[in-house]
């Protein structure tokens, strides 16, 4: 079964895998630190935020849409999960944060599905409004009151692996299973290809659209909680530009804006690729602006390589 899957890898996929392998090879030769346990663990921890965001973004992009509001959701959920600890036990605070993400997602999905509005515009508006709202909630950074919040989640380890990385590792197969083995997942996939044909086949398109955006909001909130727990602080300014990194990971992994293409494996590959590039550039002390520049180039190369020949 694995072989038949491997055989279906396209040229760009193989090209990217080879490029990443070369990068890893070069980095491990040129730097003593790259392959150290500390560095690898650090990479695995850094990529969790974008990883969770990208999985959610994949769902939305598969339906032919996009979600620009994930950045503020990350920030707001971090603020809520830490700030509310002054009034309730931290699991409850986390629950509120997750509920917020879910609510934002449902709102996005509802506006898009019910009123036929363009996802770009709706989520752009949500992004702006939410950013303002979270500053209303707290202008200043919030600190978690309960040390368990950090210890269990962000700072915790199970064996050599950090808890956040493990969480991400567990969510990947869940999303994969959903997309490939459930009725709802297949409907999400198909509706991005031709939503009218799917509607006429009796599928409740509206419900699935809202569901995709709700899942994206939820995963973004989850990422925000994990981030705040890892850093030990939640700042209202967090999350700016996160949506672009998520979209980049999806696109590098073969996702097609407009629906109809994209796989979990591809997204994970894209997340990994971006994290590796970040890490290597850090190890060699390259300025972060170059990282920005390089990321943009990588996205261009990715879409060029995958374009359908006219």
């Amino acid at each position: 079964m694995l072989f038949s899957r491997l055989r279906r890898l396209s040229a760009p996929d193989i090209g990217f895998t080879v490029a990443i392998l070369i990068l890893v090879l070069v980095a491990s030769i040129a730097s003593d630190v790259f392959l150290s346990e500390r560095n690898l663990v650090s990479i695995s921890r850094q990529l969790v935020t974008n990883g969770l965001l990208s999985l959610g973004m994949l769902l939305v992009i598969l339906t032919g849409g996009i979600d620009l509001s994930v950045g503020p959701v990350v920030a707001f959920s971090g603020l809520l999960a830490t700030g509310l600890q002054a009034h309730m036990p931290f699991p409850a605070a986390i629950a509120v944060a997750l509920a917020m993400g879910l609510a934002v997602g449902i709102f996005n999905g509802f506006m898009i599905a019910r009123f036929n509005l363009q996802p770009f515009i709706v989520t752009l508006a949500t992004m702006g409004s939410l950013r303002g709202l979270l500053y209303v909630y707290s202008e200043t950074p919030q600190y978690p009151v309960d040390p368990l919040f950090r210890g269990l989640l962000g700072g915790g380890f199970i064996g050599p692996l950090p808890v956040p990385s493990l969480i991400f590792l567990c969510i990947i197969p869940l999303v994969w299973f959903y997309l490939n083995h459930t009725v709802s997942g297949r409907a999400v996939y198909a509706l991005g290809v031709n939503s009218e044909a799917v509607r006429l086949a009796g599928v409740n398109v509206r419900r699935h659209l809202i569901g995709a955006y709700a899942a994206c909001g939820f995963l973004a909130a989850f990422a925000g909680v994990v981030l705040a727990s890892r850093l030990g602080i939640a700042q209202p300014s967090v999350g700016i530009g996160y949506e672009l990194d998520a979209i980049a990971a999806v696109v590098i992994g073969g996702g097609i804006l407009g629906g109809g293409g994209g796989t979990v494996l591809g997204v994970v590959g894209g997340v990994l690729a971006l994290a590796l590039v970040d890490n290597v550039l850090n190890l060699f002390n390259v300025e972060s602006y170059y990282q920005q520049f390089l990321k943009g180039i990588i996205i261009l190369v990715a879409v060029l390589a995958r374009r359908k020949k006219a």
Binding site: N180, H181, T182, V183, S184, R186, A187, Y189, A190, V193, N194, E196, A197, V198, R199, L200, A201, G202, V203, N204, G260, G261
Partner: protein, 501 residues
């Protein structure tokens, strides 16, 4: 002047045009007619440069113009009015008419709006129409006025060849007469007018020569004056009916579908009819008669505003396609590429799309069972080759249609099947197979509504025929009263309506 030489064109394995040749001279009006799917629009698209032929040439004064370049075609003086309106709805009438040819002042890059609007107004007046405000947005105009704007657009400059594809479909009689006056003017001044239509009245009114296409081949070319209506009809639709259509020995059960006074103006009004289990009822009508709208209303794709639908004697409320499917109604749509298939999804994905609950438990899909069930059905329908995970886009038109049929046949507990142009874009061999499938469904007790513009299809397969015109039922004919001429006459409104239930 115009010489079409041995032109052929296929799409995804289905031949749309086969070795077509015809000539026409400047100053003539050539009518091209044929049923739906005969190849008229394909030929027109090649003439206008929208697509390239696979074989053959089109010579304009001995220069090959079939180069697949619309700009080149326009430069050569070939102006086209397509069947689907190609206006830009948010722009003004003037801007649409002079699209690409905005008038400018001394500097080449500043548009002179006043001059543009004046010129556009001139073109409209010249055409014989008043009362169209050239600065108003096209989207505000009625569909027939939009069609006039589309035609006006093609009249700008002096076209050497003017191609009109079903221009009168949305025009009133009065407007059509004005159009004809303009056509006569143009042909008198040397323009070759190619008039594509299946409205025989108009063809006999306006054309000098008539060319009939059938199944992609030219079957008749004659001076209009030397041929009569019957000959043209027979050339368009005549085919040996016996070999193609299964012999109907219907055993009909109870009334399965009862439609009462269904209306959604202006698309259709006061539609009432019944279909019994095992019966095949046809619905025939020209473009704009409202047949697809009725079907979409019954299926819940675009519900009616008033009226009742009863399935097996139970009143059902159908607001969405899911409601219709739950009531036992299946709908094979007119345009599989637009709303029948998700082209980039696999064959098995499309085949199982309407019946996913059959292969799922608690929301989780049993992929093996889906492949097995869908695969078996596709084998039954003889879809070849078997690749279930291929994107359905790669299949031929006929096989694609079979995937759509499989999708609906896998829905459990259906009682009514609506087919809208089920053999459009399908080769003749697959057509025969699809007719057998239809017959088998009827034998199994399904009530079938067959919407079709192909006369032989409805005459060969149906037990009764509803003829729609302008959104209403013109007449319902029993099999004993079937004849091509009667059907056409009612569809075109040549005969007074009689309603026989």
């Amino acid at each position: 002047m115009l010489n079409v030489v041995h032109v052929s064109k296929s799409f995804d394995g289905t031949a749309a045009l086969r070795d077509v040749s015809v000539r026409a001279e400047a100053g003539q009006v050539l009518a091209i007619c044929g049923e739906n799917g005969a190849g008229k629009t394909t030929l027109m698209k090649i003439l206008s440069g929208a697509i390239k032929p696979d074989e053959g040439e089109i010579l304009l004064n001995d220069v090959n113009v079939a180069v697949g370049n619309p700009r080149r075609a326009i430069e050569l003086g070939i102006h086209t009015v397509h069947q689907e309106l190609s206006l830009l709805p948010h722009l003004s009438v003037a801007e649409n008419i002079l699209l690409g040819k905005w008038l400018h002042r001394k500097t080449n890059w500043i548009v002179d709006w006043k001059a543009t609007e004046q010129r556009a107004a001139e073109v409209i007046r010249d055409f014989g129409f008043e009362g169209v405000d050239v600065s108003s947005r096209v989207s505000k105009l009625s569909i027939s006025k939009q069609q006039l704007v589309e035609i006006a657009k093609a009249l700008v400059g002096r076209p050497k060849i003017l191609i009109l594809d079903e221009p009168s479909a949305v025009l009133s009689v009065h407007e059509t007469q004005k159009l004809f006056r303009k056509i006569r003017e143009l042909s008198a001044s040397g323009t070759l007018v190619v008039y594509i239509s299946h409205r025989l009245d108009e063809i006999f009114d306006i054309s000098d020569n008539v060319f009939v296409l059938k199944d992609g081949a030219g079957v008749l070319f004659s001076a209009t004056a030397s041929v009569d209506r019957d000959t043209v009809i027979k050339a368009m639709v005549g085919r040996s009916l016996d070999a193609i259509y299964p012999v109907r020995q219907p055993r009909m059960g109870e009334v399965a579908l009862d439609i009462r006074h269904l209306s959604r103006r202006p698309a259709f009004d006061d539609i009432s009819f019944t279909i019994r289990a095992g019966e095949i009822v046809g619905m025939f009508g020209l473009v704009g008669s409202g047949r697809t709208e009725v079907a979409r209303a019954i299926f819940g794709a675009e519900p009616a505003s008033t009226g009742e639908i009863l399935v097996s004697d139970e009143k059902v409320l159908i607001a969405t396609p899911a409601d219709a499917i739950a009531s036992g109604i299946a709908f094979v749509t007119e345009d599989r590429k637009r709303d029948g298939l998700a082209l980039d999804c696999s064959v098995v994905e499309n085949g199982g799309l309407a019946a996913m609950e059959r292969f799922a438990a608690y929301g989780v899909l049993n992929l093996a069972r889906r492949s097995s069930v869908v695969g078996t059905k596709l084998d039954e329908l003889q879809v070849r080759p078997r690749g279930l995970s291929r994107p359905v886009r790669q299949l031929s038109g006929g096989n694609q249609q079979k995937v759509v049929l499989a999708k609906w046949m896998l829905v459990e507990d259906t009682r009514v099947f609506i087919f809208d142009e089920p053999t459009r874009g399908v080769d003749i061999a697959t057509k025969v197979q699809i007719y057998r499938i239809l017959e088998n469904l009827a034998k199994a007790g399904q009530a079938i509504l067959l919407i079709s513009s192909e006369m032989p299809e409805v005459l060969g397969l149906c037990d009764r025929l509803i003829i729609m015109r302008a959104g209403r039922i013109a007449v319902v004919l029993d099999r004993d009263d079937f004849s091509m001429e009667t059907v056409f006459a009612h569809a075109a409104g040549i005969v007074a309506d009689r309603t026989m239930a």
